[in-house]
């Protein structure tokens, strides 16, 4: 989808209408992802707003040769969402909570990945080949924003073990995607 790339480049040149069109094209997917990670509509709205404003400010950093515009926007959105999640968790910790977000364990069973497209099917196939614990840890980190510590608590396993699940899981994914 090259239109997003063009729209980001025009935004970098100060074209507000192009940025408006970029918002229209990208916001629903980004908002869906923010809702998935944050599970709260008000937080998701804040985060989408911050992420889009950040995209406008940093549009000049975007490089086509470094990958798709969609992936660039996703990284911005997720970083903002994870920041928010961790700020809120820290605040709750201050209020004597345990800092681990209360989310239903999605155990994204064999992935409800509505994996569409060639890339989606390949990633799904590769994720299915991971060990169950590796898969769970990676998906909980991606979709629920859990840190290593939170994962250790959620999966009732030592921190070092969780870290190595993630590390080996990611290595296997990479090897599987690029044989």
């Amino acid at each position: 989808m090259t239109v997003l790339e063009s729209l980001i480049e025009s935004s970098a040149a100060g074209d507000r209408a192009a940025f408006g069109a970029l918002y229209d094209a990208a916001a629903p997917q980004l908002f869906g992802l923010a809702m998935r990670i944050l599970k709260r509509r008000d937080w998701a709205e804040d985060v989408l707003q911050e992420a889009m404003i950040s995209a406008w400010r940093n549009a000049g950093d975007y490089r086509r040769d470094l990958g798709s515009a969609k992936a660039w926007l996703t990284v911005i959105l997720r970083n903002r969402a994870l920041d928010r999640l961790r700020r809120e968790a820290a605040a709750r910790l201050g209020d004597a909570g345990d800092g681990v977000p209360e989310v239903a364990d999605p155990a994204p069973s064999a992935l409800d990945l509505a994996a569409s497209g060639e890339d989606g099917r390949r990633l799904r196939t590769c994720i299915e080949q991971l060990e169950e614990v590796q898969k769970r840890a990676i998906l909980l980190a991606y979709f629920d924003g859990l840190t290593h510590e939170q994962l250790a608590s959620r999966l009732a396993s030592p921190l070092g073990t969780v870290k190595s699940w993630i590390r080996r899981g990611l290595q296997r994914l990479k090897g599987c995607l690029e044989p």
Binding site: G14, A21, Q29, F31, G32, R36, A71, T74, L111, R167
Partner: protein, 240 residues
């Protein structure tokens, strides 16, 4: 000139690993801050992050889109400063590029960026846009945009080819029984900027319809759409 080159594959496992964890989101706190600081200085690390963000993108794509509330768009559009803060950053990147790049493809990138920078179109006041989609819900999209004085128009088209010996033609559909007005043929791909047909200008108002039809190469021979209409959408003035 000696900055580390290479893709994730050639890169140390440990650094590629941290790039992966950065994209996954498990790097937190000071670890993440340190990584981001390094990212600003290290082109190979930026490439590794980009590669990981592409690998994991299908996860993001698997989440169902949710329409954000309408006022959020206004808040975002009101929240962006008038001039994007790109110039200093751009110079910074340019120096970095020169530092890491010697190959022909990289040189082409520099030339393209220079072209964008030096020949940046003047920025007339914006007069609104239309996004044209198909009815199948595909990603294909045609964006039409015009300036406030309705002098020029810009078309961005991210659509498949129209077929051999076929062209896409953009039409404005005036209200109440008037004939469609051709805004010309266009090719899929990049941004095209050209003068706006002046007989169309008077009709470009909130909610007016635009359509794209598939026509013989060079455009409709009759001056009216002859082929199937494949994309459509309505015009939004600024702020709507």
């Amino acid at each position: 000139m000696s900055t580390t080159e290479g893709t994730g594959a050639e890169m140390g496992d440990e650094r590629d690993q941290r790039a992966a964890e950065y994209v996954l989101g498990t790097l937190a706190g000071p670890e993440r801050d340190a990584f981001e600081a390094e990212l600003g200085r290290d082109a190979a690390l930026r490439r590794a992050v980009a590669a990981w963000s592409l690998r994991l993108q299908p996860l993001a794509d698997s989440v169902a889109p949710v329409a954000p509330p309408r006022p959020l768009r206004t808040r975002v559009m009101d929240g962006i400063p008038d001039k994007p803060e790109i110039a200093p950053e751009w110079h910074f990147n340019f120096r970095r590029w020169l530092a890491w790049t010697l190959g022909a493809s990289a040189l082409a990138g520099v030339v393209a960026a220079l072209a964008v920078f030096l020949f940046m179109p003047r920025q007339p006041e914006l007069g609104g846009y239309a996004m044209l989609h198909d009815t199948a819900g595909s990603n294909a999209v045609v964006v039409f945009q015009t300036d406030k004085n309705r002098q020029d128009m810009v078309i961005y088209a991210s659509v498949p080819g129209a077929g051999s010996d076929r062209d896409y033609e953009l039409w404005l559909l005036p209200p109440a029984g008037k004939k469609p007005i051709s805004l010309g043929v266009f090719k899929p791909g990049e941004r095209e900027e050209r003068p706006l047909a002046q007989d169309a200008a008077q009709y470009i108002k909130s909610g007016v319809n635009f359509a794209v039809s598939v026509e013989p190469a060079g455009g409709s021979p009759s001056g009216a759409p002859t082929g199937p209409v494949v994309y459509g959408g309505i015009f939004h003035p600024p702020g709507e």
